[in-house]
């Protein structure tokens, strides 16, 4: 029994290390888990992109599940996810608030005019302060916020059809029912 341990222990240690390193191969170090998940969404009141006189804030979304999509006209990978957001908006599952991050107003407006506007509201974060409050570091980012204003999910980088169908939409529906 003792000698069985002696021979198998190095193999077990090796196997544990191999599993550890192997799973590490498939983890993306760019995806830093957000400490904001499960916490109240940081409050903001920002200028509307299309009606500069109007402000829109987190309090306006109280009582409903919503998405915050952080984008910019200079953001290359926002182009990839944009048609998916337009499609999601067309299905009227959940309101999407668009946060135009560190962008020029006219470029942002042109972008939406050219590619379709999936946002129920578009707001402007010109100097990126709200982005910092929300822990944004890689545009595009998408947050799911529940009825109580708690952040439930964060997608870093563009959403894809898989994430939308398997994660975001089911989560939204569950939160809407609760």
């Amino acid at each position: 029994m003792k000698s069985a341990w002696r021979w198998s222990l190095p193999f077990l240690v090796f196997a544990a290390l191999a599993v550890f390193l192997y799973t590490g191969l498939f983890r993306d170090p760019r995806e830093v888990p957000s400490p904001l998940i499960g916490k109240p969404a940081p409050a903001f009141a920002l200028r509307d992109l299309h009606e500069p006189g109007r402000t829109f804030g987190t309090t306006d979304m109280r009582g409903q599940v919503w998405l915050l999509n952080v984008w910019a006209s200079w953001c290359e990978s926002c182009r990839i996810e944009h048609p998916l957001l337009v499609d999601l908006a067309r299905q009227k599952i959940v309101p999407i608030v668009g946060l135009d991050y560190k962008d020029k107003d006219d470029l942002g407006k042109k972008w939406l005019a050219d590619r379709g506007n999936p946002y129920s509201v578009s707001i402007v974060d010109g100097d990126g302060r709200v982005g910092i409050d929300w822990g944004v570091y890689g545009v595009p980012e998408t947050f799911v916020v529940d009825k109580e204003g708690i952040i439930r999910y964060k997608q870093i980088g563009p959403v894809n059809a898989d994430v939308l169908a398997k994660t975001i939409v089911p989560l939204v529906r569950r939160l809407q029912q609760s």
Partner: protein, 154 residues
């Protein structure tokens, strides 16, 4: 002679340019500003830029790093301590922004794992050494006995 005078003129011109540049770049700074700069620089060297990940906030040219440096400067000017500023960043971006991970439950393995491995290795090494010494002692005894026997029998 002509060569040296030309070199002299060029050198003089260079020195003058350097001085002109230096005086135009560096704004008038009070000692308090310099102290704040030094403090922020020290702090930023311990913080990670999330965009480049392997650069500190002080070294990074990413726009987000510039925004965060601005934010940190404003917090510091508002009287916040280094710990407050670190708290500001970790509440938004997580412990990953700290190059020096805090000692807490989920980092025990990270902090103490290498020492545990070292102790385990040392223990195994010590035990193997002791056993080998015992075996070689026994082998020596056996060899000596055999020689004694062969001497007696001859």
């Amino acid at each position: 002679m002509r060569v040296t005078s030309l070199a002299g003129v060029i050198a003089l011109g260079l020195v003058a340019t350097v001085f002109a540049l230096a005086s135009s770049i560096a704004p008038a700074q009070t000692p308090a500003d310099a102290a704040l700069d030094a403090r922020l620089k020290r702090l930023e060297l311990t913080l990670r830029c999330l965009v480049c990940q392997n650069q500190t906030l002080a070294d990074s040219d990413a726009p987000l790093a510039a925004d965060l440096r601005r934010e940190i400067r404003e917090l510091a000017q508002g009287g916040k301590s280094d710990d407050d500023i670190r708290g500001f960043l970790t509440s938004r971006y997580g412990d990953f922004v700290l190059y020096d991970p805090p000692v807490q439950r989920n980092t025990f393995v990270l902090w103490f794992g290498p020492f545990a491995l070292l102790v385990a290795g040392a223990a195994i090494w010590w035990r193997m050494g002791r056993r080998r010494a015992r075996e070689s002692q026994a082998a020596d005894d056996g060899a000596a006995a055999a020689r004694g026997r062969s001497l007696l029998e001859s």
